[in-house]
């Protein structure tokens, strides 16, 4: 295959337009948010930012633009098809299910993981076995999502009632006199069982960060509240929670971004079967297993659009925190 510059010209123009637009937006944001104060500052900024900007252009901006362009093209990326891939996405029932599964993940996984982490951090705060208790919950963080998924596949494993169970969950059900069930087949329960894996892994992260935030609450405030007669619940709701709120939001957003991109758990545990697929998994299947480059790209773009607001939110919070400091 010869590379003809003229043939590729339309694509290159597209790419240039995309890059220019992206740079324009970024530049505008930088100017508006953080105008450098003097000429010297400007040179310094350019020097330090240069390498990073180059890497970002090659590793982030170019793929984003190219994926966006591909999402308006057909399966092989040759013919322009307009919005057909997006129409396909919002019309096929199986893709709508993918989108709604992703929504379930985002609604439940970050909130539950953060809540579990916070609760645990509060409960073990200043207890005698604090460090031991912390390491127990933190341990799953050291396991990759794929490893954790394999472990949980065993937990959910099924054998018929007349045989010995080797799945922990079914064994517990049997002990309580129930019938073993094919957990991974039951929709929509199976999506929640997969979410549980993420919570198991991520609660440790939430717990450690929240615990540090709780320890940073000034003792004077806590003591003052105690003297004023606040009970344990009031202390938590009126003092601890408001004090750690900014940290809580950071944890929540971090886990949300991770949840939106979740891929490994779904791929390892069900391969996206039994109605458990999510955007990232479907994107991969479409683009790389089925050779539907256009549809896969469209899914990638949707995922990108969903993640961006969260990242912007995070950056704005950081800026606010810096201004306060």
């Amino acid at each position: 295959m010869e590379f003809s510059f003229l043939d590729e010209l339309p694509k290159l123009v597209w790419m240039l337009i995309g890059i220019a637009a992206f740079l324009g937006v970024i530049g505008l944001m930088l100017v508006l948010l953080d105008a450098p104060r003097s000429r010297r500052d400007r040179w310094q900024a350019a020097f330090f930012l240069g390498p990073a900007v180059l890497l970002l252009l090659g590793g982030l901006v170019h793929p984003v633009v190219r994926t966006t362009v591909l999402s308006f093209h057909d399966r092989s990326g040759d013919a322009f098809v307009g919005l057909a891939n997006y129409q396909w996405m919002f019309q096929r029932p199986e893709i709508l299910q993918v989108l709604s599964n992703t929504l379930l993940w985002v609604l439940f996984a970050p909130a539950l993981a953060t809540a579990v982490g916070l609760l645990y951090a509060v409960l073990i705060d200043r207890s005698r076995f604090e460090s031991l208790a912390k390491s127990m919950v933190f341990m799953p963080m050291a396991i990759s999502f794929v490893g954790a998924s394999i472990i949980w596949r065993f937990v959910y494993a099924y054998r018929p009632a007349d045989q010995e169970q080797y799945g922990l969950l079914n064994q517990i059900v049997v002990w309580f006199g129930g019938e073993p069930r094919l957990w991974l087949l039951e929709q929509p329960l199976n999506t929640f069982l997969l979410i549980l894996v993420l919570i198991w892994v991520q609660a440790g992260f939430a717990m450690v960060v929240m615990s540090a935030a709780i320890k940073a609450v000034p003792t004077e405030t806590v003591e003052a509240a105690r003297i004023d007669g606040a009970g344990a619940w009031q202390l938590f709701a009126r003092i601890t929670l408001p004090s750690v709120w900014p940290t809580l939001v950071v944890v929540l957003i971090t886990i949300s971004v991770q949840t939106l991109k979740i891929f490994d758990i779904v791929r390892t545990m069900t391969g996206g079967n039994y109605g458990t697929s999510v955007i990232a998994n479907e994107m991969y299947s479409q683009a790389f297993s089925q050779g539907q480059v256009g549809q896969g790209s469209a899914l990638a773009v949707v995922l990108f659009v969903l993640v961006v607001p969260l990242v912007v939110l995070q950056i704005r919070r950081n800026r606010k925190a810096r201004e306060l400091a």
Binding site: Q163, L182, L185, Y274, S285, S289, Q290, Q292
Partner: protein
């Protein structure tokens, strides 16, 4: 075959083991069931029309094939070895699905000849051994026996001399013999020397493939466009064993044909 299944089922053993789970390819063993059934209910021509989409995916002949498979793999008396009911097929991996053959958990398992390599070394494969293969018979005793299978292709992206030389070598009998002697591999190559095959399953396969009366059909789902053959056909088979009715599965696969 059905009669035999009934006899085994009457003894209290589930005659068939079936497992569709295969990571992101889950469902493919199901397509083999349908293809084998279609070859037997409607014959070669319909089978090839179906792959080429000259008849729709949900043609009545295909529905008939689904009904034949329905009587076996969606029959609670026949499946699923020691794994549970019909829906356990969806979560049983094709690798582990054949294991109950060894301890009498089930009697038969429909799988590619490569499955021979799944057994441990101490399992004796042979006519008088622990397990052995057989060709799935036709519906009528005296009709032609269709053989269905997949295969690998050697494709060159360049016609430089050295590439062509490798290409030619890979298609030679010498390569077939050398590769086969390493085990877990079999070829329909005419020059393949059966004595280099160490695995009894491979020996049996070579014998079947080299039989002049054998008519070989390429795996239908492998030959279909990938958006069907490696996607909705697979997921359709998973839906089918977990309770979706035949008409719905057929319709959804047909509507995804590019």
């Amino acid at each position: 075959m059905i009669e035999l299944s009934d006899t085994i089922a009457a003894d209290g053993t589930r005659p068939w083991c079936v497992g569709f789970e295969s990571g992101d390819a889950t469902g493919w063993p199901g397509t083999d069931w349908i293809e084998n059934a279609l070859l037997r209910t409607s014959g070669t021509d319909v089978y090839h029309d179906w792959i080429a989409h000259d008849i729709p995916f949900d043609a009545p002949e295909v529905e008939e094939a689904f009904d034949l498979a329905d009587g076996v793999i969606r029959n609670e008396d026949y499946v699923n070895g020691t794994f549970g009911g019909v829906d356990s097929i969806a979560v049983t991996s094709f690798q582990e699905a054949g294991a109950p053959l060894l301890d009498g958990g089930c009697a038969m398992y429909l799988m590619g000849s490569f499955y021979g390599a799944q057994f441990e070394d101490d399992v004796e494969i042979g006519e008088d051994g622990d397990v052995y293969g057989f060709v799935l018979p036709p519906l009528e005793a005296d009709s032609e026996v269709p053989i269905m299978g997949g295969g690998e292709f050697v494709v060159a992206f360049d016609d430089r001399d050295e590439v062509v030389a490798v290409h030619e070598y890979l298609s030679s009998g010498g390569y077939a013999n050398q590769r086969a002697s390493l085990g877990s591999w079999v070829s329909a190559h005419q020059d393949l020397d059966p004595s280099v095959l160490s695995d009894p399953t491979d020996q049996f396969t070579a014998e079947v493939l080299n039989d002049p009366d054998t008519v070989f059909h390429f795996d239908g789902s492998d030959a279909m466009p990938s958006s069907v053959g490696t996607n909705v056909f697979w997921s359709g088979m998973v839906d089918w064993v977990t309770g979706t009715d035949t008409a719905t599965v057929l319709e959804s696969v047909e509507s995804a044909w590019p």
